[in-house]
Amino acid sequence: MEPDSNQNNVLDAARPKLAQKINILPPELAHRIAAGEVIERPASILKELLENALDAGATVIQIELVKGGCDALRVTDNGAGMEPADVPLAFQRHATSKLTVFDDLYRLRSFGFRGEALPSIAAVARVELTTRPATALGGTTIVAENSRVEELREAGCPVGTTIHVSQIFAAVPARRKFLKSEATEQGACLEAVNRIALASPGVKFRVLNNGRLLWDMPATADAGERIGMVLGRETGSGLLKVKGVRGELTLEGYISRPEITRANAKDIYCFVNGRCIRDALLNHALMTACRNVMAAKRYPAAVLFLTMPSEEVDINVHPAKLEVRFQNPRAIYGLVVETILAGFAAVAPALDDGASPMPATDPGDANLTSQVYQRRLEEAVKRYTLLGGAKKSSYRSGASFSAGSGALFSAAADRRRGRRDDDASAGEGSPSFLGGGERGNLERRHEPGFVSEPTVEAAAPRDPADAPAFPGSEDGSPRRYFASMTYLGQAGGCYLVFSHDHDLILVDQHAAHERILYEELRREGREGRLAVQPLLIPEVATLSPGDYGMLMEHRDLLREAGLEIEPFGGHTVSIRSLPAALGRLAPRTLLEESLAQLTGPTEGLSWGEKRDRVLISLACQGAVKKGQILSEAEAVRLGHDLDRLPFAGTCPHGRPVWIVLTERRLAGLFRRT
């Protein structure tokens, strides 16, 4: 059967010419479709409504938010509308115009299909729906609240559908409590619009908040132009168009030129058959392609559209349809990597004669690269298969995820949890070189894989208890541990080698400097003498709506760390000052990295913990990097600075700063007895 004809069938079903479009799903089908919590915040309501609007063939969609969507939101479209006869069915569970038999599920091309959206929304809010199909003279209004239809009447209205959702979570105070600030929720709503807008350049979007126009995106035929509207003009103009075909798979999209990078993966948007998803495999493939092209720990901005026969992908693994399962992950991985590498290859000459002193990719590297690629592919596929099993079962077991907010990235959460357990055991086994206050820090941030090895005797020279309160204070003179060492040299562009009596001490220069800067920033903050360098020319940065909301929420916190930010209209901010100790760094990068620390699971973190996160990130950026050649004076200076710290055993991320190879250990290594 041709996938295309199926698509038409499904889409045809949505067209207004059929009188009876809505069918009740057979009960066994209803069971087979895993039900889940669809609505967790206003943005999820918005997402469902927008998908409905697009399924109805709308070309103009207006979104009005009240208080960032926390109070109410309204979506108006000019799509097909509903026949009066269908309207009452709209709020029944599993009522859908898009699916009649289970097998259809595997050929889905429309966004919604479970028939869950409207009933779920009506379960947590008051929904007023006004609709008119082009074929009817008058429209219908239906009001539902607490899952009950309260009112049904005729109404005069234009063709299309308007859905007004108010009293959001009024009946679910617990959920309402979990809503974040207006700015954050608004950011999440705008992010939902982003995802939809990226995939539908032909649809005009208007977004208003509290009556003020936030965003007006005209329809455009060019996906690239729409990306520019969404991700900002700077990014939009630095995008490479990529396209690759492999059998029935097609990958099309845009990726930022290698010199345009992001601090996190937030600006990576992947669409599978038009649906925005987050998929570990796709991200992995993308990062494989960007390896060696982009700086370490930097991410591209990318918008990728993967098209494949509907049968080859299962989109029904996640209640919010954020994740999918591919039948043939290998082919997809290969397609993504090859397509993007080909895209980068096309710009390579331009890079080469630019200011970048980096040598052009050596063709002799090709073999090596393909080996790396093969290895990464196997690793990704393996992880994908393993993870997939666990993920599936956890979703199918349903109830445990009703809490919602955790369910979105439950796989990631599982992984974190697993890691945490590892760490706990590692923590127990590791020698007690941690000062009391740092222990929690270490356990939380411990990298997996760092288990103190028996060959290494990580040691602080003294008991934390007799540490001076902080360096230079009159009581207790600073330690003279490093001061009494002989500096031997730098190994691997990263490790400073010292000798002390008969021991050999290796210091990780980045970790050491990171710890020093972190303590300095913290100390200055505590003593209220943080030096701030205002900027002569304030740096202007355009952020995504989500980042902007988060930034505004944490403005005070960043100011405390020396980063002063002022709104500059739209989602643009101007950076007015930097912590003076890091003044030579690029303000925008500092801001991005700090923001990246505040995204992700920050719930439950206290203000101080969040501030520490930002300080750690600042220290990390300010610290000397691996590969930086240090002079002897600099290396010795680093040792002296370490001596002055109350605690220097690990860097703020929990990695050890130095390790000691004792004489006995060395003798053992050389088999001297």
Binding site: P357, P359, I537
Partner: protein, 375 residues
């Protein structure tokens, strides 16, 4: 390949390449310079892909040929020779033998065809300017450029031409800033030698420094812009620097208009006092508190890690008492660029920038943002 060359000429020629070729590049050939024989002279080419240098020196050519060889090693070798003339021989295996009297060096080179090409510049309009003027402008500005590669546009020196008065002959102007301070210097009237830049260009700081080193020693040089390169020629040498392709911020906007408290100092007295503060101040941001009161300026620096420093200078200033904190390194660098004996330091309140100029010279000014110590 074989030639004889005057030792001092060769030494100077190789020395000029040291700032350009890389020292520890992982691509060995980028540590090298190219030497090629021409009619009665040798050509030395050096590049790091951002800066290209082509220079020519008289030599007695016996057998033509070419080779690339480590610039640093070659320089060190020549430096330790004593005879007036050097003999330079390359064999088929790209091995170089250099003889000075009875001293013989042997060193391996790499074939010349592997070396990145540096094209000769011909047929672009070049304008004759004073080498001293050009070097001076670089000296007075380039120190303020950013060293952070993330802000590409600020890592360069902005170079533009400015009409002197109404339709006067254009003069050269350079500006550099790292976002915390800014220096701007204007050449004498007519100094652009007829060059008119419609829109300024951004020349990387390192390239500008090389240009300064060469221009300093020349009475006149010829400059021009070609294919995204800033080009400077002397009688025997051409240097080309790839421009930074980025917009320069509108620096005019940040030059403060309203006057703060203007204090006049002897350049050297102030420099010494500031340097004394620099000894103890925090080495990251070098904070120094400057306080104007009772006809004197009090300087103080306090660093919990090191100690304290205090100093006072008698000074005349207009306006009321004032205190502000600066990064002393920025202030020192700005004052060092002043040629006059007296410096004017205009101190503003709060977060407004301070302005440093030479007394009686409006062509140079340096702006420094104060530091803010959080309370």
């Amino acid at each position: 390949m074989e030639f004889h060359i005057d030792r001092n000429v060769f030494l100077e020629g190789v020395q000029k390449t040291l700032g350009i070729v890389e020292r520890k590049s992982i691509v060995p050939i980028l540590n090298n310079i190219l030497i090629r024989t021409e009619e009665g002279r040798i050509k030395i080419v050096a590049t790091n892909r951002e800066i290209g240098l082509i220079s020519r020196y008289d030599a007695q050519i016996n057998i033509p040929g070419d080779i690339t060889i480590s610039a640093l090693k070659l320089f060190e070798m020549i430096k330790e020779t004593q005879d007036d003339t050097l003999q330079f021989i390359k064999n088929e295996q790209h091995q170089v033998t250099m003889k000075s009297g009875r001293a013989i060096y042997r060193i391996s080179g790499l074939p010349a065809d592997l070396y990145p090409q540096v094209l000769e510049v011909d047929e672009i309009p070049l304008y004759k300017v004073s080498g001293a003027d050009l070097a001076n402008l670089v000296r007075k500005t380039s120190f303020a450029a950013s060293t952070d590669e993330m802000r590409a546009n600020l890592t360069g020196v902005f170079f533009e031409t400015e009409a002197s008065g109404e339709d006067g002959p254009p003069r050269m102007k350079m500006v550099a800033t790292d976002g915390h301070r800014l220096s701007s210097a204007l050449g004498p009237v007519g100094s652009a030698g007829g060059l008119v830049l419609e829109k300024g260009i951004v020349v990387p700081r390192k390239g500008m420094e090389e240009i300064r080193k060469i221009a300093e020693a020349e009475e006149a040089v010829w400059i021009g812009v070609d294919h995204g390169m800033f080009v400077m020629k002397t009688d025997n040498l051409t240097i080309k620097v790839s421009l930074i392709d980025a917009d320069y911020p509108d620096y005019r906007r940040v030059i403060p208009k309203n006057k703060g408290v203007l204090a006049i100092f002897s350049r050297d007295v102030l420099l010494h006092a500031l340097r004394r503060m620099g000894v103890v101040s925090n080495e990251n941001y070098n904070d120094v508190v400057i306080e104007l009161s009772d006809g004197r300026m009090a300087l103080s620096s306090n660093n919990p890690d090191v100690g304290e420093a205090n100093d006072e200078i008698a000074v005349s200033y207009n306006g009321g008492d004032l205190t502000n904190t600066y990064n002393v390194r920025y202030v020192i660098e700005a004052i060092k660029a002043v040629d006059e004996e007296e410096v004017s330091f205009e101190i503003n309140e709060g977060m407004k920038p301070g302005v440093i100029m030479g007394v009686g010279n409006d062509d140079y000014l340096s702006i420094v943002m104060p530091l803010k110590l959080k309370e």
